[in-house]
Symmetry: D2
Subunit: 396 residues, 4 copies
């Protein structure tokens, strides 16, 4: 076992840190309070500078214009980016586009690669992933109300999706719809590429999540598909493979969230420490002199470091053995890291007190934004049960 981080990786991380500090830190106050549309221009300028600096697309293959980092190294980069609002966006590795790029890289036809994958990877367009429905628990993906009925050379899509993140302003959606209701449950659905200017594709609303409707990339839409027609050639992979592709996307996708959360937690932790040493309580006394605050800081530090190692260990295993072999590990970090981050954020907010609740720091922004971590891509409880079932197989 060797926990040493290679010196070239350390240097790369240092470059990412430098870029973030010089390019994104000054934007933070606005990032917390302004809508995405008011930020987009400045963010895109930074995307350009990221490309110039050779930092664009840490996870993208060289062919797609990225650095092609392995998952452990990307995890370390992602931890850096996660501490800054729009950090991943500026580097072109943001959800849901990053996951969509992976899906397209594996399953897209030559034509689809040219039309969708290339401009998406280059950050010229945005995309969304339209799977979740309000009436069905996401933890059971074989339940689905949206249908795509074959009509000649086209599919006609009807149904309703929600929490389709970043649909507002996206160029296309990857939609999951039932193409054969009579097939076995895991063979019923297919994935379809739907340009958002297709008639029948309708954004009903950007859902107000934790009080914020958001806009553009920073939004979660309710989408209605009303007789929305796409050519058969817009299907991704074979008919009935929708569920399999979704698994492929969601499985490894979870570790990307975890790697980002490490950065969120670390940032909140650093802010908490800074606040503790500077909050005036009286002559010669700050919050850093209070044992309760100290105990919180120590507990957060220990749990953060442990969660970080478990995440990197999972990344290492995925690199070595593939993500299917690491499914237990992914479930474990999904709830462990989400829980750790939630605890750090809660305590950071408490240490900041009334200041923590307002827009003068990014703490409240993180607190609200990341509460979803325990819910999306399978709630914690579903992952716990799934992990336990796999473990218990060995004891029967």
């Amino acid at each position: 076992m060797d926990f040493e981080i290679a010196s070239e990786t350390e240097e790369l991380l240092e470059r990412y840190r430098g870029f973030m500090e010089s390019e994104l830190a000054p934007l933070e106050a606005d990032a917390v309070s302004l809508p995405f549309s008011a930020l987009e221009g400045r963010l895109d300028a930074r995307r350009g500078r990221a490309k110039e600096a050779g930092l664009w697309g840490p996870n993208l293959s060289a062919e797609l214009g990225g650095l092609g980092l392995g998952l452990v190294d990307h995890g370390l980069v992602s931890e850096v980016l996660g501490g800054y609002l729009y950090g991943h966006y500026v580097m072109g590795c943001q959800a849901p586009d990053a996951g969509n790029v992976e899906v397209l890289a594996t399953h897209a036809s030559q034509d689809q690669r040219e039309k969708y994958l290339r401009p998406l990877a280059a950050g010229e367009i945005r995309s969304c992933f339209s799977m979740t429905e309000a009436d069905y628990a996401g933890s059971n993906p074989v339940l689905m109300g949206t249908t795509a009925v074959r009509d000649g050379d086209e599919y006609v899509i009807d149904g309703s999706k929600w929490y389709t993140s970043s649909a507002d302003g996206a160029a296309f959606a990857i939609v999951m719809a039932v193409t054969d209701p009579d097939a076995p449950p895991h063979r019923r659905a297919s994935m379809l590429l739907v340009p958002t200017d297709t008639p029948g594709f309708e954004i009903v609303r950007n859902i107000a999540v934790m009080g914020r409707a958001g806009d553009g990339w920073a939004s979660h839409a309710e989408v209605r598909y009303a007789g929305c027609r796409v050519p058969v050639g817009n299907r991704l992979g074979a008919e009935g493979e929708g569920f399999a592709i979704a698994q492929e996307r969601l499985g490894p996708g979870r570790i990307h969230h975890c790697m980002r959360w490490l950065g969120v937690a670390r940032r909140a932790f650093e802010l908490m420490c800074r606040r503790a040493t500077t909050r005036f309580l009286g002559p010669d006394e700050t919050l850093a002199d209070k044992d309760i605050v100290r105990a919180w800081i120590a507990e957060c530090a220990a749990e953060m470091r442990a969660a970080r190692l478990l995440t990197l260990h999972t990344a290492w295993r995925i690199e070595r053995d593939g993500w299917r072999a690491a499914r237990q590990d992914i479930s474990a970090i999904k709830f462990l890291v989400a829980g750790m981050m939630g605890k750090v954020l809660d305590r950071a907010l408490q240490v900041y007190g009334s200041l923590g609740m307002c827009d003068d720091t990014p703490i409240a922004w993180f607190y609200l934004e990341e509460r979803a971590a325990r819910i999306y891509d399978g709630p914690d409880e579903v992952h716990k049960i799934s992990l336990a079932k796999r473990i218990l197989r060995d004891y029967r």
Copy 2:
């Protein structure tokens, strides 16, 4: 010991419940998503009907047009109101006005009573309480930067306050300012009544709290006092009594929050139960069949009931012995009830999943709005230490 609730109290509670269900429940969807200004007209109409129904001012004395309930009975009413957004507002017992009414009822001169207390109690005007400052920990109220310098028959107020709740649209502020910096710490400050149209009273901004700036009564302002002049007759009580009056206001004020939180928790609990029994997971299966959800519900129910009894017990002791005798009890419920509510809200949100994060239920609204409970009026940690110190005196 007799835990029976008197039948006339039960009847009164039933009337409050009926009013809330018929008058406020239908308003909830709008209350979650619209600014206060868009609701104010409808809320005021309901205030009128509350007066007609003889329900206005459960805690106000008969002389001030209220029901003059004792603290235990008011606690039970408050628990009902707390489950509805704007419940307390509609009944004229909302913070910060309710506390200001109490302060004025005790300390106001005849002139002040006529000009401020009467219309405030009647709901004709609103008020705010301007004490907290950004640079000083609220837990140490002898630290304060705002000054009121005597100049002839006037005080000239200079300084900066924040989290002055409901300043936006208030008719007057009760401001705490240092009138004698050389006095012993607890005798330095005085309370001054400042009409908000006084030159030099300036609302800098409504602070974005947990992402929402709010407006009107539902806001928390940063206020600047720049050479703001008020007549000496606007002082409440004697010079130097500011700290003593603040203690009087904050001490018993805390139980009012607790009583409201009981209602918030109960409402979230009921929503969680309803969601559990209706969330479709598959044929013949809902979330109510899941043991983890069941365990959450049971734990919340037990802690909620226990916290409720401790709160009512505290109210009973205050009624019998006065709030000073109940200071230990008040500290205990301040953090116990806040913690219980936080747990119930977190679990309710988790049970609701993505639906819980959006505006389609009041869960997210409560979750964001009430995170402050562990911070304002003294953070939990300060109350814990204070309670322990009192307890430990008996063991020395």
Copy 3:
């Protein structure tokens, strides 16, 4: 609502406290470290003095020689007794005899009353309750391997029980055995009175529980019934009523544990406070000056008081409406009070440090002895699920 404790109850509690302090406190060091047999003589002498003082049998009816207290008042007495090792034993209200007395008082024939109930209530003999079996989860009492086969005027009992508390030295056992395996599940078993000198009644061992085998009243036996014959007249109630009687015994029995645990928790809490103020850390510093210890004390105090009120509220409801109406409440306190006590004990031990682990205080004794609280009479988890199911019925 009136939380006032009647003055005559206060006086009675004062007498119990006085007796405990003068008669049991001096015995504590020995009680922690010696076997029951070495204490029995001294305990029995104190039982005599309790009778002389008119304190024997707080829960026993006057007819059976006790004080016939209602459940709320008995709860308050039990809280006092619970703080002292053997407190309940000395007052004749110890498990399992207290529960057996209740069962006999309701179901015993005249002959059984004379032979078993009268001397048991008087403390002349001891008894045990033999229901739990190793191979079946106690949470599902319809599963049972022990059988009682009718043979003329006798039942022949065969089977194996464990955790038959206090069997060692008991004069008789109340045994639950299947008398009709073909009946509906809840009608299969009956209760039989088995004198322990009956051939075929065999104590296999006193089980080492948390490292201590114990002896006499303070033990938990594995018992084998090997062709053990008792007359049909030793059956308690009608054939097939075993399960119903068990429910009757266990339901209300749980609150007795809770009331005792309140006393255990309070005692540990007081010890913790005493330790905090006296543990020398340096000149002018003790553990009571440490904020972490203070926070623990405050949290314990608040949770202890809340749990106490919920327990007394449950007792009040049982007194008013019967225990069946209070089943929700009983489940709630079963896990809430057990959890609270466990937390207080854990923290008290931590505050005592190495001293807390050794026999020089009763902390370790409580810590080990009361870990079982979360297990016996239905593990916490079973009660949580049961409580939630009842609650959720109202939401369907």
Copy 4:
């Protein structure tokens, strides 16, 4: 970063596992219930076989007859041994001897090496470390009542120690005593080697810890030093270096506990899983089908793995940079691993129910024995504050 365990290490671990399973697993039932003296012969026979198998002294240098493993590899071995009662003892790496060997290897004179170190490393004699005193908090090691007064060529030791583990049957003690009360605090004490047959060395009692007095190696003694004389040549290192040597011993010593706790936790975890899959609840249902149990298992698995990696990472850092550089890391694992183990043990016990409380499994034994983990070598709270202070230095 490379998390791969070298194949030769894997093979070694497999040999340790094999030895433990064949030699120690069959002893477990007796190990749980019998005193050390009744086991010693059998344990010593196994020590012999461990030497024959080339497994003795994984952490001992080759010169001292061991394998000389690095700390990471020894951590992996220790995790295996920790799952078996007396696992470390049989391999000659048990506390307190392992720590004493390290101290002697660094500080002993040639004479001391021959007389004490060699036979200790070979397992021919046992030792103890006599530092803790009842009246002074161990967290403040400059407070100490025991004195060693120079009298010619001898020191005369007077004082009282407790929790001197394994004193019963030890050949010698390493005693910490004040040799110069007027020196600066950290220079007051020295370490002295005291053969236990020295007049004035007196074992007052084996302290009953968590109800068990224990004996031999498995005991914790109160020791009185009454005019106990040792030659000046029995001093370890220079006069006044006692505190420095103690730091050296305790600092790295803590990770040894953590590595053992990983094994305890893993063993309890495996037992819990086994119990879950085999506990009969009804036809076709076991505890493994219960979601609450599953959630516990998943949480334990995730936290166990994370704590393990943090411990190995700490070992790696100590190997690379020395233990002083890793002080933060050591503090972090001290409370993180202790807390994790405590949680796993508590849940394992709960899953086992009444069976978990008795001697039929090692769960209760672990539960009692390892509660001390949060107390010895500095209570969790002291390590948290210490870690936080170091972290906060970077934020001032």
